[in-house]
Amino acid sequence: MAMLEGASSVDRLAPKVDAHEESLIRRIQNGEQELFYELVKPHERRVYTAAFAILRNPADAEEVAQEAMLKAFTHLKQFRAEARFSTWLIQIAVNEARMRLRKDHSEVMEPIGERQDDEGTYTPREFADWRELPSEALERSEIRQLLLEALASLKSKYREVFVLRDIHHLSIEEVAAILEISRASVKTRLLRARLMLRDFLAPRVAAGWFGREPFQKGNKPW
């Protein structure tokens, strides 16, 4: 099965299954299936996020996340505790999301990125100063929306690497294993993704987008 083909490469990674998780997995494998939700609950958000980063649609992401969980349940006996369980789950979600994209032919909707190829070096084009980072920035929905928009503007090969590394904090080796690409490719794509996102966001920051205070009654800006 395609989903499990990549598992061999992930399994080569250092064992990182914690004792509680390992115990739960063993009990589920021995028939206590009702414990499965307890096992996956800490990872349900990451599975959704992985799917969302690829599909860019909440409804599709939720459906794919559910499918990934069901596949993980069905194939739990095949999980070898040589990799983190969360990594294995995310790999299933990534594969499911990719299959969904292929099925829906959504690749044609990929952003047209004349600068988004692996050839040559990426040259930043925006040099607006962006030293400050308001800690409360993410509490504002319009800023979250802008960040998601920036992420969605990346081609999937950059987005996938960026999401796994900078959002899920997987190691370079884990990302390489999940996406079945070389470590060097992961690093190249990651650098490009970060620089492209910076190019997208920096001008908006320079325009005061992040720092502006919402207009309040009685507090005129002049």
């Binding site: 996020t49 040259t123 925006e126 962006w130 993410l138 959002i167 650098l191």
Partner: protein, 195 residues
Amino acid sequence: MVISCEQVWQEISNYLENEVDPSLRASIEEHVRGCKRCTAVLDGTRNIIQLYGDDRLFQVPMGYGWRLRRRLADYMPGRRGTAYGWLIAVAALGLFTATLGLARSAASAPPTARSEHAQPGKGIPSGLTVLVAGHGKLFHIAGCTFIHEKDGPVRSMTAGEAIKEGYTPCTRCLGEYLSRLANLLRKQAWAVLLL
């Protein structure tokens, strides 16, 4: 070692992840100190990593966890169609019917009755062990504070036997017992139905 802006940009990820050797690190820092463009790129890239690494960025749809749990529960084998499942369903139905029967029997007492002592113990399980006192007219649950020693020696028998002998239920202890039994059965029935 003097390096160009392009070299700095190519090493920014490695620099931020501490994956450059000390001499390259020193060169990058020296370059950045005197280059506004590279400072902007470095600061911006660091901010990108910080912003996207924040858990608050992605919000799962409301009810996502609940729907996932439900989907998993529906998918689990053994939840539907097994003998065990049917057994639970039948038990639930039985308990529910018994509860309804008890409730109906309690509700169907003739409203004209002036004394509950005259009731012949409707709804009381006939096999229930009760106590009667020799000269008394009531039968009780063990431990009832209304069993009087002055009524003579206390005997044990089933509720059915006590009713046949003309004893009537003590409204204190048996009333409370029936009420508790009905509540217990109702709770059990709901618990099984909600499984």
